[in-house]
């Protein structure tokens, strides 16, 4: 990709300008745009308040264009946008939880101090429940594919390909084939994850 000659702002040591990012977004191919939608759907699954994939993607683009998110050197544009969307979704969950805590604290003055504290994620049962539901969604997505389920389990445990094959007794060929099936499933997923 050519570097932009039109810049708004100056590239920092950490990353490129917003104009560079705008040019890269403009230059995305049809298939990249389809990947972008799939990524937005992945990150936004299960968000409350009617905040959907289009909202997450829209917000990500705005934040990149206004320079509040800087595109680091050496990071492909899709990976960067994916990270921005993930961060937006994390922020959104945090805001929802914070607002819920504020509502609860109105009825319980003793909680007023703790509502402003950083969220204790370990002891936040609601957040754990949301994560469990998220995991269940993903497992359900690959329910008919035993090899994919083993890979999913391995990835969730932070294992790399070689270790997954060895831990679950999967051949390298079966692993690669299953990963292709998984990619197709993810790309095919056009409907809302919550409908799974």
């Amino acid at each position: 990709m050519e570097r932009s000659t039109v810049t708004s702002g100056v590239a920092t040591a950490a990353g490129r300008t917003a104009a560079d990012a705008a040019c890269a977004i403009e230059a995305l191919s049809e298939t990249d745009l389809a990947r972008l939608k799939a990524l937005a759907q992945l990150w936004s699954r299960g968000l409350p308040g009617g905040f959907g994939w289009a909202d997450v993607l829209h917000e990500a683009i705005v934040r990149v264009l206004d320079g509040s998110r800087v595109w680091p050197f050496g990071v492909p544009i899709l990976a960067f946008l994916s990270g921005v969307m993930r961060s937006i979704c994390d922020d959104y969950w945090r805001r929802v939880r914070h607002e819920q805590r504020l509502l609860v604290s109105r009825d319980d003055q003793s909680r007023r101090g703790s509502s402003a504290d950083p969220v204790d994620e370990v002891s936040d049962p609601e957040r754990v429940a949301v994560a469990v539901a998220g995991l269940a969604e993903i497992f359900r997505l690959f329910a008919g594919d035993p090899v994919a389920l083993k890979i999913i389990d391995g990835m969730a445990n932070g294992l790399v390909a070689k270790d997954i094959c060895s831990a679950y007794g999967i051949s390298a060929l079966d692993y690669d084939t299953a990963r292709r099936r998984m990619r197709r499933t993810l790309l095919r997923l056009q409907r809302n994850w919550s409908e799974l």
Partner: protein, 85 residues
């Protein structure tokens, strides 16, 4: 017994799946979408265009809401209601 960390597992899984989506070949994307790839691309392009217009409107009105919370796509940026706390 090892303690279960669903949040950590979900984060790892989503990261890995997002990398899978990015790593999908053009051929795989086209196979999965068929002719719909063009309409999907158009849909996303429209969304990008709307986000760009939204950003430009913000610049014109002098609104710079860095740190403001996310809003529904196409919803106007509001200076006060959506401020992040």
């Amino acid at each position: 017994m090892t303690r279960w960390h669903p949040r950590l597992e979900l984060a790892r899984l989503l990261e890995a799946l997002s990398e899978d989506i990015i790593a999908a070949t053009d051929e795989e994307v086209r196979q999965m979408h068929g002719r719909a790839v063009a309409s999907t691309a158009r849909e996303v392009k429209q969304l990008i265009k709307a986000a760009r217009a939204d950003r430009e409107r913000g610049e014109m009105t002098g609104l710079d809401e860095r740190g403001a919370g996310p809003r529904l796509a196409g919803a106007p940026r509001r200076p006060s209601h959506h401020q992040r706390h």
